[in-house]
Amino acid sequence: MTDQWSIDVKDLTVAYKEKPVLWDIDIQVPQGVLMAVVGPNGAGKTTLIKAILGLVPVAAGQVLIFDQPYKKQKRRVAYVPQRGSVDWDFPTHVLDVVLMGRYGHLGWFRRPGAYEIELAMKALDQVGMSEFANRQINQLSGGQQQRVFLARALVQDADLYLMDEPFVGVDATTEAAIVDLLKLLREQGKTVLVVHHDLQTVTDYFDWALLMNVRKIDIGPVDDVLTEEKLRLAYGGRTSYLGKDVTMNLETT
């Protein structure tokens, strides 16, 4: 069986109370692409990911993952939430958090064993965090927290990765580690969706982009999507707000 699209979203609308957060979104993501989800604050990027995962109620439309509803494909999907969404003072250590990535595969009543620990240690090694396996999670820096979350997603051994702003507020080491990881995932033929804020680096890190602001502006190869005209459409002509005019920057690269 060959699945045509990794993600196939049709007419998706999500509204909190009356205000639509996502309006009639249609996107098809081919397999094996590294895709940035780009748009201004409040564009509904996080909501889109949550809607794909079934975490928020959908007002209209449908989402298919590898041609089936999410519920049937949940083991093929790994989710990296924003790291600020959890309480890092929770009494546990790094390895334990990474092991949580195996809970879906383990199912009810089974505890992680030697095999799961081996997978978790390997994943920690991939993000350069193996020395921290027994570290208390409240002693981690922001970048280290992010890498723990990535390791947790890695042990899920998924085909589709959804990451919510992994680059926000991390140190240079972590940024490099994430970039390496994204490349590795692409080499393995995985599909990766990353909510990304930094327009400067989009073209360097990603090969596809989804540009949105409540509605979809465009989706496709990065260079086709992030044109000055389309960016102005998404950001309302205020692209220069981001320090320097990013559309200028994009044209020179």
């Binding site: 949550k50 995962l53 079934g54 975490l55 519920k71 949940k74 999907v77 989710y79 939430p81 969404s85 959890v86 309480d87 929770f90 009494p91 546990t92 250590h93 334990d96 958090v97 949580m100 809970y103 879906g104 383990l106 009810w108 009543f109 505890r111 992680p112 208390q136 409240n138 947790r152």
Partner: protein, 373 residues
């Protein structure tokens, strides 16, 4: 102490109290840990108050004071209160604390009305029902302890079975949902387990103060450990010790109510833990803060002196306090004394300070360190 131990085997009341406290402490500590980590500490308060009308209704309907029926009633009405709470919170935008307050007062008010009504009824055997308000350990019978034990065993057993699911949903709710864990159903299940934990303690601690047994042992245990499993075990231990101490004290001293005594003991342990625990305690945090302040004051002074030293041909040339203060007030006599004790500076005459060789080296190292950051 020895007397108490001897009487454990001979004194029926004491043995019942000790066993009852043990069950009460373990179950409320274990489930309380999750209530506290889920930031639902006040849920216990609402549930225990919501249990009161159940006790009264059960007595009115069955007219038996057997703990099984009373606790069953308590459980049903506590559970109803909880479900009402969850339903309102899922379906409205009302804040959780507001809903808790409403459910608590409505159920508790209804319970008090029923209790007063029962007092006026001409039925026998109604005395003693009031003990459910503040708890009374001496009314505990062996049969009650068995009911408590069975309920507690079930609650802790279920908790252990779904341990990893509860853990992941407490830590990261969205991630747990993405794994396909049925969050809402587990919310209901976990809350039901908290209801059981509370019902177990009603006879000893009473509806008014039972929430302390859910919150305090867990809050105390969290201070001493950073591992979830250990926290749950410690909370159970702290709960048991408090239950036993309070229970025994109140049965030895006449007219000492059990619930309040237990709560005083457990609160004492919680306060003690908040202040004196290593790593997380208030005291250690304060000491750390003071030590840091001292260190920074000392380092700043050394760096200030280095500024002088660099502009002088002789880096060890001493300067007086006034000149040092002119570049920045970084410390008083105490700072200078500490630095002198460490061998970094020396004072050839009063209020005049200069580097020692060690101090000059230390200051240069510090400067290099600062410059690289």
């Amino acid at each position: 102490m020895l007397e108490v131990m001897v009487s454990f085997f001979t004194d029926y009341t004491l043995r019942t109290i000790i066993l009852g406290s043990l069950v009460l402490g373990i179950v409320s500590g274990a489930l309380g840990s999750f209530a506290v980590l889920r930031k639902e500490s006040l849920l216990g308060d609402a549930i225990s108050h919501a249990a009161l009308p159940g006790i009264a209704l059960s007595f009115l309907i069955i007219q038996s004071k057997h703990s099984f029926w009373l606790l069953l009633g308590a459980m049903i009405s506590g559970w109803c209160g909880t479900i009402l709470l969850l339903l309102v919170s899922y379906n409205t935008t009302l804040k959780r604390d507001a809903i808790l307050g409403i459910v608590l007062s409505v159920f508790f008010g209804f319970g008090l009305v029923l209790m007063t009504f029962i007092q006026r009824l001409p039925i026998p055997n109604k005395a003693g029902l009031g003990t459910f308000l503040f708890g009374n350990a001496s009314t505990l019978l062996a049969g009650d302890v068995i009911v408590m034990g069975v309920l507690g065993f079930i609650a802790v057993g279920i908790l252990l079975l779904i341990w990893k699911e509860i853990k992941v949903m407490t830590f990261d709710r969205d991630f747990a949902t993405s794994l396909g864990i049925p969050i809402k159903r587990l919310d209901v299940l976990l809350t039901t387990l908290v209801v059981i934990a509370i019902v177990i303690g009603l006879q000893m601690v009473g509806v008014v103060l039972m929430s302390a047994m859910i919150i305090a042992p867990a809050a105390a245990a969290r201070q001493w450990t950073d591992r979830l499993g250990l926290m749950v075990i410690l909370a159970g231990l702290i709960g048991s010790v408090s239950g036993m101490t309070g229970g025994i004290l109140s049965s030895l001293v006449t007219k000492l109510p059990t619930g309040p005594t237990i709560v005083l003991v457990v609160s004492f342990l919680a306060f003690f833990s908040l202040i004196f625990a290593p790593n997380r305690g208030i005291l250690i945090a304060w000491l750390r803060h003071q030590r840091n302040r001292k260190r920074i004051a000392g380092e700043t002074m050394l760096l200030n002196m280095l500024l002088f030293a660099e502009s002088d041909t002789d880096p060890y040339h001493p300067h007086d306090m006034g000149a040092l203060h002119a570049i920045g007030r970084s410390g008083g006599q105490k700072t200078m004394k500490t630095l002198e004790d460490d061998g970094y500076i020396e004072t050839p005459e009063k209020d005049v300070w200069g580097f020692t060789e060690l101090g000059y080296k230390k200051a240069s190292d510090l400067k290099k360190e600062r410059d690289t950051v």
